[in-house]
């Protein structure tokens, strides 16, 4: 291992130099990538309300909580992907056109489905030689910090009236502020305590986490669960679940629920791995 260290340092230096030049080894030259403001979410732990729907003795209950620890932290986009950012991917032919109502280039892109979001991450990774991906629901919830709304209803289990939970859920998600779904310029909703801007504003963020339905026993232990990856979790003012092909949250919602205002993208950048550094160095050498 000791022998490899100089190589790693060299590779890292080469990678840094390449980043400074703004050209990755496999980058397509047509569209430049704007510098991306990032926030390092520090290591830590929190009580995480599991996503999905939970049944106990055949009746819906609040999802159990689990202590989640991020030993290393992660690096997340400070702002959501903007209309201009996404437009560059469209211009490169790597992303499909969005369907959102955003008006200024500076506003977050909206009207993107899960596949658009992953296509954008793949394109950005190619352009930069870095590894970009959507966050997991767990990461999003940790990053949202004080803006995360616990979606537990805290009701006593009512086995006589299923409507109690429907009504409570509807009331909780309605909120009290007048709804304004028009996408706002970046920074409009301010920063949270971790420095992330506009998180839980009026544009929801796609995550990689699949919808699941689970049954828990009397102690809250999961007995079995069914996962449906055709539906993914979205982080936002309230946690939402959408089919991967939906671009307009309002269309994708159910008849009597409240849908997200807009669907957008906020990515996580993976730290460079040894393999990625070597690959980049190799590509540079081979290309030279």
């Amino acid at each position: 291992m000791r022998l490899m260290i100089p190589t790693m340092i060299g590779a890292a230096a080469a990678a840094t130099a390449l980043m400074a030049l703004g050209t990755g080894p496999r980058a397509t030259p047509q569209q430049p990538v704007s510098p991306v403001a990032m926030v390092a979410v520090q290591p830590g732990s929190f009580d995480f309300r599991l996503p999905g729907e939970y049944l106990k003795a055949n009746w819906p209950v609040d999802a159990p909580k689990r202590k989640v620890t991020f030993d290393r932290g992660f690096v997340m986009m400070k702002y959501q992907v903007s209309l201009a950012d996404y437009g560059a991917c469209v211009a490169d032919g790597a992303c499909e056109a969005h369907e959102g109502a955003s008006r200024s280039a500076d506003a977050p892109v909206t009207g993107v489905n899960y596949r658009d979001a992953t296509a954008y991450a793949a394109w950005l990774s190619r352009k930069t030689g870095e590894s970009w991906r959507l966050p997991t629901d767990k990461e999003w919830a940790f990053a949202a910090a004080e803006r995360l709304r616990d979606d537990a209803l805290g009701l006593p289990q009512d086995t006589a009236n299923p409507a109690t939970r429907w009504l409570a859920r509807y009331a909780a998600e309605s909120g009290t502020e007048a709804r304004d779904a028009e996408p706002k310029p970046r920074g409009h909703f301010g920063e949270n305590s971790k420095g992330l801007a506009d998180i839980a504003g009026n544009v929801w963020d796609w995550t990689t986490t699949c919808y699941q339905r689970a049954t828990v026993d009397a102690e809250g232990k999961v007995e079995h669960s069914t996962e449906n990856c055709g539906v993914r979790v979205l982080g936002g003012r309230h946690r939402s679940y959408m089919s991967t092909f939906i671009r307009d949250g309002k269309s994708g919602g159910c008849a009597a629920g409240l849908a997200p205002d807009n669907l957008g993208i906020r990515l996580v950048r993976e730290p460079p791995t040894l393999l990625s550094r070597v690959t980049r160095l190799w590509a540079t050498v081979a290309g030279a």
């Binding site: 429907w166 008849a255 409240l258």
Partner: protein, 373 residues
Amino acid sequence: MLTRREALFGTMTGAATAALLTAVAATPANAAQPPLADVGKLPRERVTLVSPPFVHAHEQVAKGGPKIVEFQLTVKEQPMVIDEDGTVMQAMTYNGSIPAPMMVVHEGDYVELTLINPETNEMPHNIDCHAATGALGGAALTEVNPGEQATLRFKATRAGTFVYHCAPAGMIPWHVVAGMSGTIMVLPRDGLKDENGKPLRYDRIFYIGENEFYIPRDENGKYKSYASLGESYDDTLKVMRGLIPTHVVFNGKVGALTGDNALKANVGETVLFVHAQANRDTRPHLIGGHGDHVWELGKFNDPPAKNLETWFIRGGSAGAALYTFRQPGVYAYVNHNLIEAAELGATAHIMVEGEWDNDLMAQVSAPAPIASL
């Protein structure tokens, strides 16, 4: 672009005006009507209108004899936000709401309606009441330019829900799809009755005015906004002629009756849903409920249809459906062209509190992995 001057004077020459005058002249006097002096002696009541989806306080069974009921409508031309993305329409309204307020009287009462067109407006306006007889529903006697007002009295001779709308010569459909329509409900003096003549009552009314809008888009497909009513006219008319609305909404806006503005009721309560559409056919449906008694045509002296799943409201009419809620929950009340409901906006939500009736419905087994045989 249509200027105010053209709107005021351009349309007042030509065939349309001649037709209006002929229509006025041809309206026969009603021999059965009491002499004017007698009408003048009737008791008067002045009603302050309230904004939809609610309706001013009223008796369901009339107390005493016919009276003159006074209403006032003020035309407000104003930009209005019609969806959650902030799309703005240059709207025309009675009293500032889409739909216009509901007026309630009893059969045999006289409606005395004052229409005010403030000086700040651009357009002439009037009112065509489908409940009224003669003069194009009153339109020919109420045409007011900015800075004018007029008062019309008509006898409510037929019981039922009736649309009223603006109908200025040359611009009728534009004024209607820009928001100028409302409902008059003429109740039978002895109230609503079922098919056997037994009295029916309601605990509350939800007045659902459905409108379809035709908003022009720019070259990028984004909705355009205009600085004034007149400037929006040419583009809007082109979209209207295509007959494909961009929005189909309840209460003037996508989401106007959902979320914080969702309607509320309780199990055991009887609600009268009055549904009006001044321009285009629609088909209300209460998801998870029914129409117990439905006057699909809105005319209360017809026996109501019973146990309907969906009812048909002809464009240019209003209908009424009576329903007693039997289960709690979040109900969706929709135009059951579900594309119009989910994609274009025609959805309202009703939060109904109360006890669940396990006899009417129970979940025998919750969703779980498929059992192996």
